[in-house]
């Protein structure tokens, strides 16, 4: 606040500062206006209890539009039928959960009643593992390189960040046109007299490209976070170790990596959240195919409860409850790990 008013009162100001000052004036005016009501409120309820006033708007919206629907989902999971309203839906107890978990061998989806659910689970596990790993490695390497004395770092930083702005649907569309049989890569291959490769026809290639494309689209964000982490490591630590005659590799292992650990942890958590939720991008790029090679959890829920006919809300809700509980356990483990390493 002091900075703001300081720049406001300085005699010579640039246009940018004047605009800033203008907006700050408006902001301050409105906030002061709010204070006219809120100061008496604080007098009545006490300054401690103002906390309730601050959390209330968020809590209301969160409760009504996030938490309440999730609780409703528990209820939906115990019903069947095609009715939209709970009152039209017969109660079936745990039948939906039983259907989902009915497997002779959990590792062979073909032995499961809901085989697609289990295919989706194992595909998601595969995807999350490799995507997060690849994401962290590429983001880290790029950040390390940009952290060198690179000319035009700002330019590269923006270029790598730009795909983050694209919607998942656009990302998928672009890459579909590049990868498909008559796509850009095959055109290049053919002009070089090479064999055409049917990327989207081969399960392994498709799994690879789905991971590649999601890394392409999101890497810039994580790279920036890591870059900031790197730049916060004081240079004199390296100088000291150079005097000790440490090799660069020892520097990396002994200094860079340990000091970067907290940042790396944040990146890992965020990447994991995004990876588990993977949906729209893959939906447009491969729609789960070929066969069910890239068919993931959220798509299973979406297809079952939304795009199938008839829409099976009950089964989809049960699947989403199972997904939610699994994710909750993951989140708690992560937070616990994070707390113990003082990272978050």
């Amino acid at each position: 606040m002091t900075q703001k008013s300081g720049s406001y009162s300085s005699p010579r100001r640039s246009v940018g500062e004047m605009i800033r000052a203008f907006f700050y004036e408006i902001y301050a005016f409105i906030m002061n206006l709010a204070d006219v009501v809120l100061t008496p409120l604080q007098r009545v309820i006490g300054s401690r209890n103002m906390a309730y006033f601050f959390v209330l708007p968020n809590l209301l919206i969160f409760g009504i539009f996030v938490l309440f629907p999730m609780l409703l989902n528990f209820r939906y999971a115990m019903t069947s039928g095609t009715g939209l309203f709970l009152s039209d839906r017969p109660f079936v107890g745990f039948a939906n959960y039983r259907a989902l978990l009915n497997c002779t061998n959990f590792f062979d989806p073909n032995t499961c009643v809901e085989d697609r659910f289990w295919r989706a689970i194992w595909n998601t596990v595969f995807f999350v593992g490799f995507q997060v790993l690849g994401m962290v490695i590429f983001a880290l390497v790029t950040a390390l390189i940009l952290n060198r004395g690179i000319r035009g770092r700002g330019f590269f930083r923006s270029v790598y960040f730009y795909p983050v702005l694209l919607s998942p649907v656009v990302v998928a569309l672009i890459w579909k046109w590049i990868l498909q049989r008559d796509g850009l890569i095959n055109a290049v291959l053919i002009s070089l007299d090479q064999e055409r490769v049917n990327f989207l026809l081969n399960a392994d290639w498709t799994k690879f490209w789905v991971i590649f494309v999601s890394i392409w689209a999101q890497m810039g964000f994580y790279m920036l976070i890591l870059l900031a982490g790197l730049q916060s490591i004081p240079a004199d630590i390296y100088e000291a170790s150079a005097i000790d005659g440490a090799s660069p590799w020892q520097d990396f292992r002994g200094i860079t990596l340990p000091l970067l650990m907290p940042t790396l942890f944040v990146v890992l958590v965020l990447a994991l959240i995004r990876a588990v939720q993977v949906f729209d991008q893959v939906y447009v790029l491969t729609n789960g195919g070929p066969g069910t090679a890239t068919f993931y959890m959220v798509q299973y829920i979406y297809n079952t409860g939304f795009s199938g006919q008839p829409q099976r809300f009950g089964l989809a809700a049960a699947a989403s409850v199972l997904l939610g509980l699994t994710l909750l356990i993951f989140t708690l483990i992560q937070l616990w790990l994070g707390r113990s390493s003082e990272a978050v």
Binding site: I26, Y27, L60, G63, Q180, L285, G288, G289, P310, R312
Partner: protein
């Protein structure tokens, strides 16, 4: 302790819901304030450091801001709708028609509606064009179930949505005209047991059937097979053509259980048991499935369509347009875009559906424009529908949209298709001639309320066989199970 808190939370949420409901209602009546709206973009572009402070300022203004614009934006649309109707009175009934576009048919419909509005100043019809898959297939059923549907809508899931359709009969001057001309299609729009309601009419009838690249046949010096050739014979001939001309693939078929059903029925698939319940695992179905598998195994069919990435539906039209395949099993709706995209590159012709031991049939299909029972203005909806269903109006719609008429009188008298391409006209004639040849099972399947469950199970599971995730036996079991589960859910 925990529990108590949760209950408290729930109570607070419920109370808050009421407050919000009240606010929502109040806000929408707020007076317009256009300055606030024009300010919004500037704020977004303001230096981001200032974004947070600037944020609050507009937040307090937001209620007026948002609703004002909702009201303001309504104006242009209404104007556009109203400008044709010269003397539109202030209290004109506004009807909502949810639409989707495959090509330019939406523009044709708008044209016709403009004319209607000119004659009926007391009604305006606004078309809301949405994406097909997410809008019509996935979202619309939920909106309808919640009672938030439009007044009229163009749908393809005719049986599945039939509980929501409006029976126009009491509002129509001449229901007999509808029975007479739309009779066989009206049964698709009715719920089981309903034999009299008139929910709407077909915006188009589609027929599945193959196209061939005639130029490739000419180059290979091979004659087109006769009209009663079997699927196996066609496969053989197209393979020869592909080989002689260096074309990569002989055949393609859209990946959908709907395209598959025609050939399967020709091979003897019955789809239903004696009681009319789906029974898919029979010799005919397996025969066609096996052919499909073989054709993929030996390279007759292009693998991308059925085995590539993609959901329950994938089309082979692009490969056909690029002359990568000799024969393409699709349907009458491709005519418009073939006309546009192939142009003069080669001669594309529609041919009659190949035969099997049981039939030489394709599948009928199509989309219908229907009224929705929740509408507040059933009478006005009926007037719009009656206007559109007149022979000359509907004939113009079919003719300009290049759609096969779903109107028996027009089918008989013929529709004047607006095209200068002889290839287009020929193809339309071929498909129109397929309509009377369609097999009974094909009609039954098309009219079946849960046919979409059958089609999706077919394409999803057969794809899994093609890519090696299932055997055909396993797939047959899964298909039947999928369909049974879907039906059980709905009953």
């Amino acid at each position: 302790m925990m529990k108590q808190r949760n209950w408290l939370l729930l109570a607070v949420m419920l109370a808050a819901m009421l407050v919000f409901a009240a606010c929502g209602g109040g806000a929408s009546n707020a007076p317009a304030g256009n300055e606030a709206a024009t300010e919004a973009p500037t704020e977004a572009a303001a230096p981001a450091e200032e974004e947070a402070p600037a944020a609050e300022e507009a937040a307090t203004e937001a209620p007026a801001d948002g609703s004002a614009d909702a009201a303001a934006t309504e104006a242009p649309a209404e104007e556009a709708a109203a400008d044709a109707s010269s003397g539109a009175s202030g209290d004109a009934v506004e009807l909502r028609m949810t639409w989707y576009d495959d090509g330019a048919e939406g523009a044709v419909m708008r044209d016709l509606l403009d004319r209607f509005e000119a004659d009926n100043p007391d009604i305006t019809v606004i078309m809301d064009t949405v994406p097909y898959a997410t809008g019509i297939l996935e979202t619309l059923p939920i909106q309808l179930a919640a009672g938030e549907g439009p007044d009229m809508v163009r749908v393809t899931d005719l049986g599945g949505l039939s509980p929501f359709f409006l029976d126009l009969t009491p509002y129509l001057e001449d229901p007999a005209y509808w029975e007479e001309n739309f009779g066989p299609f009206l049964t698709w729009l009715r719920q089981a047991g309903d034999e009299s309601s008139i929910p709407g009419f077909m915006t188009q009838l589609t027929v599945t059937g193959p196209y061939v690249n005639k130029t490739l046949f000419d180059q290979a010096g091979i004659e087109l097979p006769a009209g009663d050739a079997t699927w196996e014979e066609w496969a053989e001939v197209t393979r020869q053509v592909a080989e002689a001309t260096g074309t990569p693939f002989a055949m393609a078929m859209d990946r959908t259980g709907h395209r598959f059903a025609g050939p399967a029925i020709s091979e003897g698939a019955k789809y239903f048991d004696a009681e009319g319940n789906p029974a898919l695992d029979d010799e005919g179905f397996r025969k066609m499935a096996q052919l499909l598998i073989d054709w993929h195994a030996d390279g007759t069919m292009i693998p991308d369509v059925w085995m590539g990435a993609g959901g329950s539906y994938a089309a082979g039209n692009e490969q056909f347009i690029n002359a990568q395949i000799v024969m393409y099993m699709s349907g009458s709706w491709q005519i418009g875009q073939f006309n546009e995209k192939i142009g003069d590159a080669f001669d594309w012709v529609a041919v009659p559906n190949p035969c099997g031991p049981a039939a030489c049939t394709g599948m009928p299909g199509g989309a219908a424009l229907v009224g929705i029972a929740d509408t507040e203005h059933p009478e006005e909806v009926a007037r719009v529908m009656a206007y559109l269903a007149q022979p000359d109006v509907l004939g113009e719609f079919y003719g300009r949209s290049l759609f096969i008429p779903g109107h028996l009188g027009l089918a008989e008298s013929g529709v004047e298709f607006v095209t200068d391409s002889p290839l287009t006209a020929d193809a339309l004639t071929v498909f129109a001639a397929e309509v009377p040849k369609l097999n009974e099972v094909a009609y039954e399947l098309q009219g079946y309320r849960f046919n979409r469950a059958i089609f999706n199970a077919t394409s999803d599971r057969l794809t899994q066989v093609l890519v090696g995730e299932l055997t055909l036996d396993e797939a047959m079991t899964r298909i039947q199970e999928d369909v049974d589960k879907a039906i059980a859910e709905a009953q």
